[in-house]
């Protein structure tokens, strides 16, 4: 078994180790945080692994949105490469991890259709594609060109996204809100992700559960809190809009939040390492909670778990997943940075939102 694991994961592990060393260093982050404007950010990034991607922008199209798109191109390439090199048994879960971006793309496409945006405007809000994408750019363009959410959904029949969307369409048409469509997509996506996770065995299952399970927990917990504190949904609605499974966060926790229990004490019990988080004090029952701080704290916790994956026996799916998640959060940090710098925000306004450790370290 161990020999099989070594043979299956040796190449992807070696390549991931190589790619992992190309993360943005604390020095680079410090320089990026100190950069005066967007142009300096671009010039600093040109000397990093993102450089070749940013070079691809024609001179007359250098905008923050385009820069974000190009940095995401690296994320797509990294996903494509890791999926390609991973053994068959790991591939399905990695593919489903990638499909979270397709879910985001579908949401962006629907929003574009609702606002009457042209394809040129929508295009660079989407994630770039790689060879494993289910929806091509042409598919998404066709959706935008229909000009109608209902027709757009019809155009993707045959994909796993169609069934949940087609059934939620009635509510969209009755309420003229994208909320039911987006929630239906999120729930269906997480159910498939969980099923895929359940098919893994042995070390793969253990490590994937730790990381992907934590990711699912994080979303589920934040949804429950958000639905209660911000959307003021009923107990039954919160239960129906959340997931009945999780790694550390189980159904009873979600039900307790839905029923009005003290959120801070539930979070403290679930994550004792976050017990000192100041934001928890404001997470009272029914209170409008500063969810942003809790979200960032949970994301940092996940990133720390990803870094820890790189210590110890390496021939399992945990290494590629950990690398992809770290890259994703680095990419999200870059998006925050680029948008903040192009809007001339002060460092104190956006730096607390950065997640990856190197970014956090450089803030000290």
């Amino acid at each position: 078994m161990a020999v099989r694991d070594v043979s299956a994961y040796s190449v992807v592990h070696a390549v991931v180790r190589g790619l992992y060393s190309k993360r943005l260093s604390p020095d680079t982050w410090e320089a990026l945080l100190q950069a005066e404007d967007f142009e300096i950010v671009l010039s600093l990034l040109s000397k990093t692994a993102y450089g070749p991607y940013l070079e691809g922008i024609p001179q007359d199209q250098v905008t923050p949105r385009r820069a974000v798109y190009q940095t995401r191109q690296r994320l797509a390439d990294v996903y494509g490469k890791v999926i390609r090199l991973s053994p068959d048994r790991a591939r399905e879960l990695l593919l489903w991890l990638w499909r979270l971006y397709e879910i985001d793309d579908l949401k962006a496409t629907f929003r574009g259709i609702e606002s009457g945006a042209t394809w040129d405007r929508v295009r660079f809000l989407l994630y770039p594609r790689h060879e494993y994408a289910l929806l091509t750019l042409e598919d998404l363009e066709e959706m935008v060109l229909t000009g109608s959410v209902a027709e757009a959904i019809q155009s993707i029949s045959g994909t796993p996204y169609y069934d949940p969307l087609s059934h939620a369409l009635n509510r969209y048409q009755a309420e003229r809100s994208l909320f039911p469509l987006e929630v239906a997509l999120d729930l269906a996506y997480n159910r498939r992700l969980w099923e895929t996770l359940g098919r893994l065995r042995g070390q793969d299952h253990e490590h994937a559960m730790q990381l992907v399970g934590t990711l699912v927990d994080m979303d589920n917990l934040l949804w429950a809190i958000r639905y209660r504190a911000y959307h003021r949904l009923s107990e039954q609605e919160i239960i129906n809009y959340t997931l009945p499974f999780g790694y550390q966060v189980d159904d009873d926790d979600i039900r307790a939040i839905a029923a009005g229990a003290d959120i801070a004490s539930i979070v403290r019990r679930l994550y004792p390492d976050l017990a000192d988080l100041a934001a928890l004090e404001q997470l009272g029952p029914g209170g409008a909670a500063p969810l942003e701080s809790l979200e960032v704290a949970l994301q940092r916790r996940l990133v720390r778990m990803c870094y820890d994956e790189f210590v110890g026996y390496p021939f399992h799916i945990g290494i590629p997943i950990a690398y992809l998640l770290v890259t994703e959060y680095e990419n999200r940090d870059l998006v925050v940075l680029i948008e903040a710098k192009s809007s001339h925000l002060r460092r104190g306004r956006f730096a607390p939102l950065l997640v990856t450790r190197s970014a956090v370290t450089s803030m000290r």
Binding site: S7, S10, V11, H13, A14, V15, R17, G18, S21, K22, L145, D163, P164, H167, A168, N170, R171, P180, A184, A188, R191, L233, S234, E235, Q236, E237, I239, N240, Y241, P244
Partner: protein, 654 residues
């Protein structure tokens, strides 16, 4: 035959005023492969004031709209017209199209409304059928004073969640029916909890049965009314379909003409948009760049000279830095066409790569024949191939006729191996084997085919070395995993294995192991050595530790790949054995059906052989393709070339 056709780079300099006729003439020449210009494309506008790029977008939108109208009418695109259309003004096309859209829109929209209505009515019927036997008034069910009821459909995956969300609310959720991923349900509860129940049902995506108030009575009575409504709707649908059929007949030629003209115009403006531009204060000059086979240059020169004396044409040989852009035209005789298709299905060779079509034809046929060795079965394939070519009157599809040479070649090698194996339609006693019967010499044939596989893999690596030489890529030649180091590494390891069984072996195993170790180290350090030889610095991008770790694992991967690639050829022997064994099975079955070797016996033999040829032939073809693509091509063929695709305005010209 071993190299793609020699290409020339062509540069045409033309005044802007004749750019459209020049582009049309280039398309008519059927030899010009356009390339993006290295000069700036400028902001020059097309007639009508639009930028060429914008005009291309306009034509793309117009094409989409014409296709939408054709789809509404159920009209196909039809064949392209005989005469190549000229550029049309976008405004003219738009006005024409809008008129057509207006005519079609009315009946199509009404038809869609009725179809939607029919779907809704059928959905009501499906849901109501689950409670058809209930003797209650539906409006009563809707308007109870104390009882809350809600009937509808919801995703089955949400059922359990909805039930559990209502744990503390007095309620019952009854599942009446399932249809795919949806369930028909009725939710009962107390009227005082109506708001909670409504919100819970909505959040579980329970879509209520929204029966119009006009449908009253018991479920059975409502169903009757619904069926009557369905009948009426179907009649209306029939009427609108007739109107659309009439429109189809009246407008089809017009629509097709417009579609092809817009498509040709789209190609013209899209091509022009990629031309370079030189301008001074008074004149705008367009610079058109592309590729033409050397043999066709006179054709193009004559075409341009006939068109205008204002066209300046310059040709030059491709330079090394053009490698990625030079299109590749393969130049093989028609008999090799199906094998060329196998190659291009994988990818086009780059301009400086050799064309592997001939070697593919030989290896594909040999591998197929070795797995499918039977004189009779091979003969059947040959006959099928000859018939496909000879009987033109049967009008086989062109794609099927193209396969004929492949069938003949594979059949012929099947016959040769049939004689080697001594097999004729599964009978193993009619002819003496020139080599051995696979079922009687399993070990020999398995070892033999693995050895043949090693030869084929080595041939692939030699091919890669030749390609590296042609491309002048020294590092790939010396240190590539399929270059000289890889080849010597492979042969050394093979030598060590073979030496175990042959005594005395001419080369001592110590020497072979030392050679393998040296070449292994070169493979591990390939990136560093390549940078050293080519003078690139730094020697490693990722740092020494990272490079060495990655190099070690890549060497590990190379070793495993070479081993698995070689062992993969054991399937050739296994299929040869299976082919013989299946032949025997047919004979055993036939003797059970007709022990006296009468009509029953020969019927089973004939049918069994036909099934064997059809199914096993297909499986063997797939296995052969797999060996060619993954084991053989993977060693030398990048498939990164660009196909030579002359500019055309209509698809039939390609």
């Amino acid at each position: 035959m071993f190299r793609p056709e020699t290409m020339k780079k062509v540069e045409l300099v033309v005044p802007d005023s004749i750019v459209v006729p020049v582009t049309e003439a280039l398309a008519a020449s059927h030899v010009f492969h356009p390339a993006a210009s290295h000069l700036p494309q400028g902001d020059h506008t097309a007639p009508g004031g639009e930028d060429w790029r914008e005009q291309a977008t306009t034509f793309a939108n117009l094409e989409r709209r014409v296709l939408a109208v054709m789809e509404d009418l159920g009209a196909s695109e039809g064949l392209p017209p005989d005469e190549t259309p000229h550029l049309i003004e976008p405004e003219v096309a738009r006005v024409d199209l809008e008129r057509l859209e207006e005519q079609v829109e009315g009946p199509v929209r009404k038809l869609e409304e009725q179809q939607e209505r029919l779907k809704g009515l059928q959905e009501y019927v499906r849901q109501l059928q689950t409670i058809a036997d209930l003797e209650i008034e539906l409006e009563g069910l809707r308007n109870h004073r104390y009882l809350y009821t809600l009937m509808g459909t919801m995703p089955t995956v949400n059922l359990q969640r909805l039930r559990s969300s209502l744990d503390i609310i007095p309620s019952v959720l009854v599942e009446m029916d399932r249809h795919g991923h949806l369930a028909t349900v009725i939710l009962f509860g107390a009227q005082r909890d109506a708001e909670i129940l409504d919100r819970a049902a909505r959040s579980a995506y329970l879509n209520p049965l929204d029966l119009p108030e006009t449908y009253r009575g018991t479920p059975a009575e409502v169903l009757e009314a619904l069926h009557a409504g369905i009948e009426r709707t179907r009649r209306r649908i029939g009427e609108y379909e007739a109107a659309i059929r009439h429109l189809h007949q009246a407008r089809i030629d017009h629509l097709r003409h417009l579609l092809w003209r817009i498509r040709a115009s789209h190609t013209i403006v899209e091509t022009i948009a990629r031309y370079g531009q030189l301008r001074n204060r008074y004149v705008v000059i367009r610079v058109i760049e592309g590729w033409v086979p050397e043999s066709q240059i006179p054709v193009l020169e004559k075409q341009m000279a006939d068109l205008s004396d204002q066209v300046a044409l310059k040709t030059s040989a491709p330079e090394k830095q053009d490698e990625a852009d030079v299109p590749v035209a393969l130049n093989n005789p028609p008999l090799l066409k199906p094998f060329q298709d196998l190659v291009t299905n994988y990818g086009y060779p780059s301009y400086y790569e050799s064309d592997p079509t001939l070697v593919t034809a030989l290896t594909f046929s040999l591998l197929f024949g070795a797995m499918f060795g039977d004189v009779g079965h091979g003969l059947l394939l040959v006959v099928a191939g000859v018939l496909l070519i000879a009987i033109q009157s049967l009008r086989f599809p062109r794609s099927l006729r193209d396969v004929a040479p492949l069938l003949i070649a594979c059949g012929a090698t099947g016959i040769v191996f049939g004689f080697l194996y001594g097999s004729l339609f599964g009978f193993e006693h009619l002819i003496q084997p020139l080599w051995l019967r696979p079922v009687e010499g399993i070990q020999t044939i398995l070892i033999g085919t693995v050895a043949a596989g090693a030869v084929l893999l080595s041939l692939g690596m030699v091919y890669n070395i030749v390609n590296a030489l042609l491309a002048g890529d020294l590092s790939r030649l010396l240190f590539g995993h399929n270059g000289l180091s890889g080849l010597v590494f492979y042969w050394s390891l093979l030598g060590v294995v073979v030496g175990r069984f042959i005594d005395p072996f001419p080369i001592p195993s110590g020497v072979l192991l030392a050679l393998a170790a040296i070449c292994g180290a070169m493979l591990m350090l390939d990136e560093i050595l390549a940078n050293l030889v080519s003078g690139r610095r730094p020697l490693t991008r990722e740092g020494w530790t990272s490079s060495l770790v990655e190099g070690f694992f890549m060497l590990f991967e190379t070793g495993i790949s070479l081993f698995s690639n070689t062992i993969s050829f054991v399937r050739v022997g296994a299929f040869a054995v299976a082919h013989g064994a299946l032949g025997l099975v047919i004979l055993i079955l036939a003797s059970r059906v007709g022990p006296a070797q009468g009509a029953g016996y020969w019927t089973v033999v004939a049918l069994g052989n036909l099934v064997l040829v059809a199914f096993e032939g297909l499986i063997v073809a797939i296995q052969t393709l797999r060996l060619e693509y993954y084991e053989f091509f993977g060693k030398f063929f990048s498939g990164s070339g660009v196909r030579y695709k002359p500019l055309t305005l209509l698809p039939r010209e390609q």
